[in-house]
Amino acid sequence: MVATSAQHAAAQGTATETKKRAWTWYRITEGMTPYLLIAPLLILMAVFIYWPLIYSSYLSFFDWNFVRPDKIYVGLDNFTRLPDDPRFIQSLKGTAIYTFALIPLQVLLPLGLALLLFRTRTSRLQGAYRVLLFSPTVIAYSVAAIMWLWIFNPNYGVLNKALSYFGVDAIRWLSDRDYAIWAIIIVATWKTLGFHMLLYLAAMEGIPKDYIEAAQLDGASSWQITRSIRFPLMTPTFFFVLVTTVISVNDDVFAAINVLTNGGPFDSTTNIIYYLYQQGFKYFQIGAGSAVAVIVFVVTVFLTWLQFRFVERHVHYG
């Protein structure tokens, strides 16, 4: 309609009509501009995030190995067979160990450290502390793992050397199934300590000074202030760190697992993410891998939903 009247107007050729045409053209392009601005982003998201979600769900109903031309429909077998796979069960154990060991190490240890840093914030050393503690965060996980590979070396590694001064016998950190997962947990703790600490510090620094001063006037001790004012006001940050840790910790350690142990010894360092990777790209069990992908996705959505619900109800916003 608009276009025809514009064409019609153009045929008239008068000055006002030309102006009108320009105005119409302006309105059309302006109306489309917002969509043009978001189109590249949304198209790529559709192709590489949303479509893969759908396609993964589809593939999870089939038996396929990447190369065979035909996919065989197997219904829910890829899901129901998972509990029969000892490697899957082992990967669940690993997932549980990583999650529960790293919650205190990545959520509480950085909180304690942040309190210490906040306490000493007027010190000259503060800037240096923050730079040193944060630096592992900015480097590649895989390269970090390479650094630790050398530290964990059973014969000449510096960790065993240090322990030998205390009379501890050489530990085969990466090839002993009792130790390997803890070696990776050490690396993961090292990698995220500074980042989470900074998030807590920022939360503490964001607390209005009036609150603290008012409490000081009332004679509150510094620990009382921390406990009754800082902690409640930090709960959003605390939950953010807690939930992102729970959601991403098993994803994060992937590079460390792959560089340090390849999931071994005896699959003792695998987790659900590494199991998915092995199913897909080592054993080419695309259906089984996709089934795990669907499970990982559903669990992640559930945890996120839980976070929103819980945070809405129990968190004090400053």
Binding site: F48, I139, Y156, L198, N258
Partner: protein, 289 residues
């Protein structure tokens, strides 16, 4: 100690408090824990094989062996890996900026049919773990013959920008409405508003997104690991794995740590230069938004 006047604590004292020395000690121990692997890496990168496989504990080798660095390039195509890491990181960053800045502007300041829904669609991608999309995207890339190419690494990783869109949008929202209204009155088109008014005014935020995106792309592991299989096509983060196949030989550790040092250098330099911005943006926009 008691010389202090009783009234109010001075808010900012740059002095050392003796009663805090225990706290400092704990912090310093943790600092040593975080920094030691770096120091040990550098130390090993200039050690000769006989000083690598030894039971002595020494930070600075008797005879520094700088040849480990050229040796690394000799053993593996480390120069190619550096080039690949660099090219992929730059192009990924560029692509992400070109996509996320206009979208952030549109979602912050333009009203159009479906704007809220589409913004939700963008944000919702944040809860999709990367690993979930890996198998279909791998099929997509291999069907197009993009294996072992930069394209194969870059294109599928471009849409992982929801956080940046969010962060940039927060910054666009903070611009005064008058600024945009003035532009409108001057007859500026929406595109002009974006290029002439919005972009110049959110430069600090764009800088931070650039840095974070570069670091992310430089450090990424799983996706390039799957797509880049050729020796020559690897990035630093993924190619280093070739060294680890030879960990039994003392010759390998020096060059391996030399390569690791090269791989950590750009992120550390960028971090050192932009430390304040990185931290403040992370902290203010990442959480309170």
């Amino acid at each position: 100690m008691g010389s202090q006047t009783p009234a109010v604590e001075a808010p900012r004292r740059r002095s050392f408090r003796l009663e805090d020395s225990g706290f400092h000690l704990v912090i310093i121990i943790l600092c040593a824990f975080t920094i030691f692997p770096f120091i040990w890496m550098i130390s090993t990168s200039i050690k000769a094989p006989d000083e690598v496989f030894t039971n002595d504990f020494q930070f600075i080798p008797d005879v520094p062996r700088w040849a480990n660095f050229p040796d690394a390039f000799e053993y593996f195509p480390v120069d190619r890996w550096i080039w690949n890491s660099f090219g992929i990181a730059v192009l990924t960053t560029l692509g992400k900026i070109l996509m996320s800045v206009p979208a952030a502007f549109a979602f912050a300041r333009l009203r159009f049919r479906g704007d809220k829904l589409l913004f939700a669609v963008v944000l919702a991608t944040m809860i999709v773990p990367g690993i979930v999309t890996v198998i279909p995207n791998y099929i997509f890339v291999s069907e197009r013959g993009w294996m072992n190419t930069w394209t194969g690494v870059i294109i599928p990783s471009l849409p992982a920008t929801a956080f940046y869109v969010f962060l940039l949008r927060q910054n666009v929202l903070q611009l005064p409405q008058d600024l945009l209204d003035a532009g409108r009155l001057d007859g500026a088109t929406t595109i002009r508003l974006l290029t002439d008014i919005v972009v110049p005014n959110i430069k600090p935020a764009i800088a931070v997104v650039t840095i974070l995106s570069f670091l992310g792309a430089w450090n990424q592991y799983l996706w390039p690991l799957l797509i880049l299989n050729d020796f020559e096509s690897k990035t630093l983060a993924t190619g280093m794995q070739f060294f680890t196949n030879n960990v039994e030989s003392a010759q390998m550790w020096g060059p391996m740590m030399a390569t690791a040092a090269i791989a950590t250098l750009p992120p550390l330099i960028i971090y050192a230069m932009a430390q304040k911005q990185i931290i403040s943006t992370f902290v203010t926009s990442g959480l309170k938004g």
